[in-house]
Point group: C2
């Protein structure tokens, strides 16, 4: 299981449509609110031992219930998420306030899977709300409903319903014999290489998206494609769908401007260069890192199974 998934949560998809049930859940003394500033969680404990700040809704007059996003019920505890532009704006409804907004990517791998998944879930929803205050059909303001899992247009002659957006992206480890293809973008930190990736477009399957993206970015033709795993990636709203792609050609041509370099690496080259510091792999939290490590762990040159 990848990081950012594995929340131990009942999302209560049906119950959250009932405003009265939500109101009672919010005022439950056991209810907890995850706090974010502009999409980054409020944390204490530093990078080593990050712990999210959890406020209580009951009696916290700085928090308007309709602004809190209902995430679900975790072991009997209703959990909400709330975003504020400044950490000071959360009030002092709970003695444990006082955390600092923290780059979620930096800390997610230092938390348990369930804790990271919960923060990822809240982040995805909050960022969606932040980018969708208006109705895309008619331009009128829209308002959150169903605990934040819907926005409804406020214009009585429109009333369009808008659901949270999740953008599916394919991410692929392309292999050829005993080597894999990694690339880098010009803006990345020095020596960082990762798997290729890109958004799925209309009218294509995931497998087609894998082949198209590798062709576009590196000029390499991919034949067979095998599913690996998937990962929610709330930066801001992606769902990464991981595949192994088996290359039919080896020549690399950087066709579009996406990558500044792409290379074939053997397992030994990756291990040696990472040790020497001349190669950096993506963050441990990412499915990209997991796919590279899984491939190294298979130890031998594996080809397509057919």
């Amino acid at each position: 299981m990848n990081f950012l998934s594995g929340a131990l949560l009942d999302r209560c998809s049906k119950l959250r449509r009932d405003p009265e049930w939500l109101r009672i859940a919010f005022h439950d003394p056991a209810a907890r609110i995850l706090c974010y500033c502009n999409g980054e969680p409020l944390m204490r404990g530093g990078v080593e031992n990050p712990e999210p700040i959890l406020l209580s809704g009951a009696g916290n007059h700085a928090i308007e219930p309709s602004q809190a996003i209902f995430l679900g019920v975790e072991q009997g505890t209703p959990v909400f998420a709330l975003d504020r532009p400044r950490s000071e704006d959360f009030g002092q409804g709970d003695v444990r306030a006082g955390g600092v907004p923290t780059d979620f990517r930096e800390i997610a791998a230092m938390m348990s899977r369930p804790a990271g998944a919960l923060l990822a879930y809240g982040r995805a929803l909050l960022l969606w709300h932040a980018k969708h205050p208006f109705c895309s059909v008619c331009g009128s303001p829209s308002a959150p409903a169903e605990g934040g899992h819907l926005r409804r247009c406020t214009n009585e002659s429109c009333l369009a319903e808008h659901y949270p957006r999740t953008d599916p992206a394919v991410i692929m480890l392309v292999v050829s014999g005993s080597q894999c293809l990694l690339g880098r973008q010009a803006a990345w930190p020095p020596n960082l290489y990762s798997t290729l990736a890109g958004f799925v477009e209309g009218g294509e399957s995931l497998e087609e998206a894998v082949r198209r993206e590798v062709q576009e970015e590196a000029g390499v033709e991919v034949g067979e494609v095998e599913y690996h795993s998937s990962q929610p990636w709330p930066f801001p709203s992606s769902l990464m769908i991981g595949f192994t792609g088996y290359a039919r050609t080896r020549e690399i041509r950087l066709n579009d401007s996406e990558l500044s370099d792409a290379r074939w690496f053997s397992r030994e080259e990756i291990e040696n260069q990472v040790r020497e510091g001349s190669l950096r792999l993506p963050r441990p939290v990412s499915i990209a890192r997991r796919m590279v490590e899984d491939w190294i762990a298979t130890g031998s040159s594996s080809g397509p199974t057919d």
Copy 2:
């Protein structure tokens, strides 16, 4: 490969960002425009032998180039898609006009994979534009750019960029021993049963979405989950991601209001009841139908591989 994928198309993802290149492609005498009315393609040949109407852009003064969506280049031919509220509004730029707007779901399985995939792709993009004339960030009008693969806010102080939306959904054949789980919604035609399905939410992997949806809709617990295949599903903007789910429990509880019935079926029951007319499976075009047929074809009770 599922229906609605398999377009023989170079999407020219980089070139389409160049307005001058797009202008030349549109006026290429070889260029063709797929025509739609409110998202349904203009077809001739009836349900038996459906053929899309293809107009020429060059010299067709009824068509504004900026309104045409660039799909890609198919064997040297630039292909665009255009939507109009009435089929009469397309003008007569090509002698082959005169088709009728046709329910795409009814005809998609009667066409070649590439032809159906092209129509699916155009439909997904056109329906996205139809639902997004305004900027969700500030409420101002947005305008298409990059051949219709982007909408940019026209408000100079916003200029937010919006990309086409694709909603990932999981669709799963849940199996238990020699039986599979099919369900039906109250609004469906009589006797129609299909695989369970649902949209992926934030903060969950595809595998978690499979387990959550089956639990929510049928009260059945799913353990191991295996990827099957994927299918673009432009009704209006889904990407269906198919899995086999191995049930850990058998008791069916219709927890939410999504399904009106769900049952376990053996292969023989499906085949017999379909023959007798007391069971209908989903349309041949759908990944749901393909998953049921694949499972029947495996012939024996297969369990998880581990």
